[in-house]
């Protein structure tokens, strides 16, 4: 049960709303405060495109801690969350700065335990994608051809079963069920129905797998006009929508903002040094307030 019923409980609102087939539109600060708790398993998804940086920065500003961070590609956003020590455990499949190289805060945490040691659970992309898909189906596990022969088997959560019809050995991965999923999209209407387009990644699955859902958007529109390649997510599976123009930068929102490739390259130097990193966070994250 998501959407209306929950959000009324969380945010108050009208006294007697039995039917509330919509997500609440709330300021980002309030949405993060209500929906994300210390210790939660949180997935901020977006595959290169539409990464929810504004929401992630709000997590840092509000000092969320002990998070289990779930994401296929940790990217700069999780490098930042790891670097400030918000992460207790990381579940992922590719921890690099795309096209640039290492994620230095991710490496520093794993190699040197700075600012704290983190637990890791890593998968292949195919494994993570099927874990989200199983979560979206509320199945306990997902089936795929994968992992066999690799050292991942000894270091992660994967089991093998035999196909009852052919005898072939197949991999089974446990479903992902985040406490909260956060995604960024191009637009929502006033009922909290959401549309995103361009590279859709695993966002729909991450939303449907989660217990609570926050969507930040570039804009609120009166009426959603479905687009080619548009992924539509009805407001009744979302708890809160928050306006956050530019909220996926330095990632991008197709047709609205551009990927800031220069920043991805500059991040290498900023993140390489602990002090430079901390100073950047103080200035550019802690020193700012949430949009909208």
């Amino acid at each position: 049960m998501r959407g209306g019923a929950r959000i009324r409980r969380l945010f108050g609102g009208r006294a007697c709303v039995l039917i509330a087939n919509m997500a609440e539109i709330v300021p980002l600060r309030e949405a993060v405060a209500e929906l994300v708790r210390d210790g939660d398993a949180v997935a901020l998804e977006g595959f290169t495109h539409l990464i929810p940086f504004a929401a992630g920065h709000e997590l840092i500003r509000q000092g969320r801690s002990e998070l289990e961070l779930i994401r296929m590609t940790p990217d700069i956003l999780y490098d930042q969350l790891i670097g400030v020590g918000a992460c207790r455990r990381l579940v992922f499949s590719y921890g690099g700065n795309p096209g640039v190289g290492s994620l230095h805060r991710f490496r520093d945490a794993i190699e040197n335990g700075w600012p704290r040691a983190i637990e890791i659970e890593e998968h292949s992309h195919a494994g993570m994608a099927n874990r989200y898909a199983a979560g979206a189906a509320h199945l306990p596990c997902g089936l795929l051809r994968g992992y066999r022969g690799t050292d991942l088997v000894a270091h992660t959560r994967v089991a093998f079963i035999q196909c009852p019809f052919t005898g072939e050995e197949l991999a089974v991965v446990p479903a992902l069920a985040p406490d909260v999923t956060v995604i960024h999209a191009q637009e929502a209407d006033r009922d909290g129905n959401v549309q995103l387009w361009g590279i859709p990644g695993v966002q729909k699955e991450a939303v449907l797998a989660a217990d609570r859902v926050l969507v930040t958007v570039e804009r609120i529109v009166d009426r959603i006009e479905p687009r080619p390649g548009g992924v539509l997510i009805p407001g009744w599976v979302i708890d809160a929508v928050a306006l956050a123009p530019g909220g996926s930068q330095p990632s991008y929102s197709l047709d609205i903002t551009e990927r800031d490739n220069d920043f991805y390259m500059r991040w290498d130097a900023i993140s390489r040094d602990r002090d430079a990193f901390t100073s950047w966070i103080d200035t550019h994250v802690r020193g700012k307030t949430a949009v909208a």
């Binding site: 595959f47 290169t48 495109h49 296929m72 590609t73 992922f92 499949s93 590719y94 921890g95 690099g96 795309p98 096209g99 640039v100 290492s102 994620l103 991710f106 490496r107 794993i110 190699e111 890593e122 998968h123 292949s124 992309h125 195919a126 994608a129 099927n130 989200y132 898909a133 795929l144 051809r145 994968g146 992992y147 066999r148 022969g149 690799t150 050292d151 991942l152 270091h155 072939e168 050995e169 361009g198 590279i199 859709p200 990644g201 695993v202 729909k204 699955e205 390649g229 991008y252 197709l254 551009e258 990927r259 490739n261 991805y264 390259m265």
Partner: protein, 250 residues
């Protein structure tokens, strides 16, 4: 066109591009594989379908993308699919002819490590991890590995088997139930290593123009076998080099 001398990296990229002259589709990450595929499409194979992990199928980028999810890939692709669909309906079933992969370490059977240098629990260097590589290597029609040729990369023993190439040799892929042919070439800036048809162990089968066989052997971390006839790779033509440099300058 720049008149700079041919670099080893350029020879490597052009060699990889030529390898894609007859492929129908290629799965690529960023960096040299992406450059090679875009070059192949421009020079030899206009119908080559470029598939990026981000979900873009049939992308036609004008610029070399920095990330696998750049907006230009989305805008120019024939279709865009979700990540679960990409792996379940396109990669694992073997619909993509060639998968191009890089790695931090490669062993003599073309198994790949992109996870960790040193011990897993206390790593010397933590690498990005598996990404799509294990299933790409298992599923694609064949795999082309593009890596640096040095003893740190081409190693006697992987610190971590992220991706199975030919496992422990002949028959390994079949025992694991893999569909594709596995790595058919490891392309370096010194030459090309290909699996022996019988044993599946990599052998040096060709070198770039101006590279000595002994140099390639010396730069390999295991006792590299050498084919009876090592071919010398045709150096990039004026047109190939011009196209590569023009592409890189965009």
């Amino acid at each position: 066109m720049s008149t700079a001398a041919l670099s080893a990296a350029e020879a490597q990229t052009v060699t990889a591009a030529r390898r894609l002259a007859r492929a129908r589709s290629v799965f690529i990450g960023v960096g040299r594989p992406s450059t090679a595929a875009i070059l192949a499409r421009a020079l030899y194979n206009p119908r080559l379908v470029l598939v990026y992990e981000s979900g873009t199928i049939g992308a036609k980028p004008f610029h070399i993308p920095l990330s696998i999810g750049d907006g230009e890939l989305a805008h120019t692709s024939d279709l865009i699919v979700s990540v679960p669909e990409m792996f379940n309906y396109w990669i694992t079933p073997g619909r993509i002819d060639v998968g191009c992969l890089g790695a931090a370490q490669v062993d003599r059977f073309a198994n790949l490590n992109s996870t960790v240098i040193g011990d897993y629990a206390r790593p010397k260097t933590r690498l990005p991890g598996a990404g799509g590589a294990p299933e790409i290597a298992a599923g694609c029609g064949e795999v082309v590995v593009i890596v640096a040729h040095d003893r740190r990369t081409l190693v006697q023993r992987l610190d971590f088997v992220t991706t199975v190439g030919h496992g422990d040799g002949a028959g390994a892929r079949e025992r694991l139930g893999f569909r594709g042919a596995g790595p058919t070439a490891v392309i370096t800036e010194l030459g090309v290593l290909e699996p022996d048809p019988q044993t599946r162990e990599l052998r040096l089968t060709s070198v770039h123009h101006g590279v000595e066989v002994g140099d390639a052997v010396a730069a390999t971390g295991w006792e590299l076998r050498v084919a009876e006839h090592v071919e010398v790779i045709e150096p990039p033509s004026v047109d190939e080099l011009a196209a590569l440099r023009e592409l890189s300058s965009r």
